[in-house]
């Protein structure tokens, strides 16, 4: 992305790992939670793991878009 240039020379990288962690937790908790809720609602068993994996995958994709283009 051309307009996505960080104005700072990204020096505060020491915290980036921790920020990534909160994304991973957020994604897994959110979609895992949705899966859990749907399982309870529909009486199924498989949506919780599907949600967890989907959440983790989507978060990794998000991190790719967010941090990947920064070089």
């Amino acid at each position: 992305m051309s307009e996505h240039e960080d104005p700072k020379p990204s020096p505060g990288n020491s915290g980036d790992g921790w920020r990534v962690l909160s994304y991973l937790i957020g994604g897994v908790v959110l979609y895992g939670g949705i899966g859990f809720g749907l399982d309870r609602l529909l009486g199924t068993q498989f949506l919780l793991p599907v949600g967890i994996v989907l959440g983790a995958g989507l978060t990794v994709l998000l991190l790719h878009f967010r941090y990947g283009s920064r070089s």
Binding site: M1, P7, G15, R19, S22, G26, G27, G55, L58, L62
Partner: protein, 260 residues
């Protein structure tokens, strides 16, 4: 079974953190309250003393004060927020840094040896303060709706993925951040204190209670290990302080940034 082992060893647990009030009848006045109050006094004394007689050729105290202040201002605030706007947040970040630092290192200082932030309420309040600040400055800068969009619309994501990504951004930036900020600090302090307790009390039990010379030898080794753990804990205490303040600065920086 070894003969002469009289009683069971009870390791320290969460109940080790329930300290009695220092003065009978004043239930809120416990060790963490005393230590944090003392830390505030020490910080005020330190920075007041360091800045009172500012000189071109600094005294040792002034030099130490400037070293600490410059570290927070340059290495944390300016790097994370940017040189244009960082000065506004240096007082908070500097105060936060030294408050957490002293209260963490209190776990290592002899006779005090209790980390204030091993009581989770303290960590919650510190994290909530940072949360309120970064959200407030973000809303001031972008307006409520603009800030909400700013925090939840990731740049560079294809439009068709947006509906899936926006909830992740929201949960991560608004909900998980303060929780992880407080839990990280709390859990490190709590675990470190318990770990030290296991080594020191376990060694004491082996040396004095078992009445067995071989086990007493093991107890001595346990104490030496405890000493090494104490050194590791000192490192963890400083690192956790740094992480907490760096993350606060980065959250502020990303809240007021023009674009992600």
């Amino acid at each position: 079974m070894i003969a002469g082992v009289p009683t069971e060893f009870t390791p320290p647990g969460p109940e080790s953190f329930d300290l009695p009030p220092i003065i009978d009848g004043v239930s809120w006045f416990t060790k963490p309250v005393l230590v944090s109050a003392l830390s505030v006094v020490v910080i005020i004394w330190f920075f007041w003393g360091a800045s009172r007689k500012s000189a071109i050729v600094p005294s040792k105290l002034q030099f130490a004060g400037e070293l600490g202040y410059n570290f927070v201002r340059n290495s944390i605030a300016r790097d994370a927020i940017g040189s244009a706007e960082h000065m506004k947040y240096v007082p908070y970040l500097c105060g936060l840094f030294f408050f957490i630092l002293l209260n963490n290192v209190a776990a290592t200082i002899p006779l005090i040896q209790f980390p204030t932030f091993s009581h989770i309420g303290w960590a919650y309040v510190a994290a909530i303060m940072s949360w309120v600040i970064y959200n407030t400055v973000g809303i001031r800068k972008h307006g409520a709706w603009g800030y909400f969009k700013h925090q939840t619309m990731p740049a560079g994501v294809p439009v068709w993925l947006m509906p899936l990504m926006i909830p992740i951004e929201f949960i991560s930036n608004i909900v998980v951040r303060p929780i992880s900020l407080s839990l990280r600090l709390f859990a490190n302090m709590f675990a470190g204190h318990i770990l030290l307790g296991v080594f020191v009390l376990g060694g004491e039990y082996l040396v004095f209670e078992t009445g067995n010379i071989a086990l007493a030898g093991v107890g001595i080794v346990t104490w030496l290990m405890g000493l090494a753990i104490a050194g590791l804990e000192l490192f963890v205490q400083v690192i956790q302080t740094y992480i907490f303040v760096v993350l606060t600065a980065q959250y502020i920086g990303s809240a007021i940034s023009e674009e992600h």
